[in-house]
């Protein structure tokens, strides 16, 4: 802003550009710029998101559409022409003639979709239950937190498997295929909520007794309004860190469930499905079916993990 501005304008909100500039000079952006591995991870993740979003236009083939597949193309080596059809594929094909590159693009789309949706869903569940437990206290608090305790005793992958099986039990068999992805999202989300609930509850119990919350209570705001408008913004920092690390966990959980054969339906292969198929062929020399999806999964989860670690350190004032 020009310095000719009249005095009252000082209390006006700074323009977007100023705020961006200030953020760029701030501690978080500084620690971001300083660490090359974090910058690379951010670029890799952004690249994955863009590639996944543009998959229908970028992929040479739609691996979810059986009509475009040719069984004769099956098990083609990368870049070498197929023995029957003469088609070439950059990363080869799997046993059913699906182009590995296309499956990786569509598969990461599925992985990111399941990952992001389940993190958002478990955030919603965990944060609201944590707020209610921490702000309300009493019997509701003990019920919510004991449930979380019991669930946390078991590894989350086991909980996700169990919930997946239970939801399928309620659905008619013919709906299993269609509902597989939503069921997967719900199962992974329900296996992760206690982490968020615990953190939010802890911070909320501290914030509840601060003066600004007391002031809000005195002017007669509804508890829900206090929780959402006043307490929530102050507990969101640590939650963001868990959410980032949770994204990596959700992506790996999706891959693991699909690898176990209980995740996405076989007609919609994700990275885990392709790794499962690829494992059958490592003994016979078709390494590319396994190698490229495994590499993509590794790079994806590693970059999300690195970002999460960085965010945890950057948002922790004790480490600065």
């Amino acid at each position: 802003m020009p310095d000719t501005a009249p005095a009252p304008r000082i209390i006006q909100r700074p323009s977007l550009r100023q705020r961006l500039a200030r953020a760029w000079d701030g501690d978080i952006a500084y620690s971001f710029r300083r660490s090359p591995s974090v910058v690379v991870s951010a670029i890799v993740l952004a690249l994955f998101v863009v590639l996944a979003l543009l998959a229908p236009w970028l992929a040479p083939q739609n691996p979810f559409d059986p009509a475009t597949l040719n069984l004769m193309d099956g098990k083609t080596r990368p870049l070498a022409p197929n023995a029957f059809t003469g088609n070439r594929f950059l990363l080869g094909t799997d046993d059913q003639g699906r182009d590995v590159l296309s499956v990786i693009l569509y598969g990461s789309r599925l992985s990111l979709l399941v990952g992001f949706s389940s993190v958002v869903l478990s955030l919603l569940i965990g944060v609201s239950l944590g707020l209610v437990a921490g702000y309300g206290g009493g019997a509701l608090d003990s019920v919510i937190m004991r449930t979380a305790d019991v669930q946390l005793t078991f590894p989350s992958i086991l909980v996700a498997l169990m919930i997946f099986g239970i939801i399928r039990g309620f659905l008619p068999p013919q709906a299993h295929e269609q509902a597989a992805i939503p069921v997967l999202i719900v199962a992974i989300a329900l296996s992760a909520w206690p982490q968020y609930a615990r953190t939010v509850r802890g911070v909320t119990m501290v914030e509840r007794n601060k003066e600004y919350v007391q002031a809000a209570r005195i002017i007669g705001l509804h508890p829900i309004q206090i929780m959402l408008r006043h307490v929530l913004p102050n507990v969101i920092g640590p939650v963001l860190v868990i959410a980032t690390l949770g994204l990596a966990l959700a992506i790996i959980a999706e891959a693991t469930l699909s690898f176990l054969g209980v995740g996405v339906p076989p007609t919609k292969p994700s990275l885990g499905t392709l790794i499962r198929i690829g494992q059958e062929y490592i003994a016979s020399g078709e390494w590319w079916i396994l190698f490229y999806p495994a590499l993509s999964l590794l790079v994806l989860s590693l970059s999300v993990n690195l970002l999460g670690d960085w965010l945890r350190d950057a948002l922790n004032p004790k480490l600065r």
Binding site: M162, I166, G169, I282
Partner: protein, 327 residues
Amino acid sequence: MLAFIILRLLQATLVMTVVGFVAFSLFRYVGDPVSNMLGQEATLADRAAARQSLGLDQPFPVQFARFVGQTVRGEFGVSYRQARKVSTLLAERLPATLELAMVSAIFAVAAGIALGVFTALHRTGWASRFIMTASLIGVSLPTFLIGIGLIYLFAVELRWLPSYGRGDVVKLSWWSTGFLTPSGRKSLILPAITLGLFQMTLIMRLVRAEMLEVLRTDYIKFARARGLSNRAINLGHALKNTLVPVITITGLQLGAIIAFAIITETVFQWPGVGLLFIDAVQFVDIPVMSTYLLLVALVFVFINLAVDLLYYAVDPRLRVDTSRVSH
């Protein structure tokens, strides 16, 4: 001490009751047990008879009590998919999983403590640096990729070890063991390493961090001043004092080993309960699912209890202060 044990036992009973309730609700309310067991062609009279023999016409508390009674006696119902008793299926599969879990737990603890002590004592050596970096990569890899990597290296390329199954097993009454045949022992190596690797790195990092902390303390300096041998200082004085957190983590991770065996068993086609459970989830085989849930809960509760009791054996301070400090 006694009060503490009783409190813990009560908590354990409570958790088992809750899990039992969940398992019962699964069996009772997910799908219709009668049509699951009789199939589509059953007549109405057949259904009513089955309903009565299963006790489904009785009020809820009676049904639950009956379920608990059957479970305690080891009757878990009949698998919908395999039409065999769940208890028989479990008896067939359990030895495979328990042997695998035991070997990988021993591997995780032994290798974890040894490498942890080594990296703590030779902090700046190239070998320790290599081990620490490798462990970091190992932690961020999904279990199934590690398993496949090991299969590729040792079974496909080097052809040293089998890539799937248990090899030859010997029957000792109902327990089938792979320990007694060469092929059984060879088949155990890769799955056990895959399953135990994560826990191994965890224990290693923990032991290393604790050791570094303890080695800085005054009593270690004093022990050195007294002229004790390095071996006595490192193992007798330093390592012993790192064991309390190690026992906690190891105990809790043992339960995780049983659960993560699901993934390892799928990778290596290991005929254990994990593979049975995956099959059950795929085909919504509720009796098998709820029995597995009960089994895993029992293992977890038992391990937690054992860990709490082990504290007393390891840490003398807890034994002295029990009258004043409440837990």
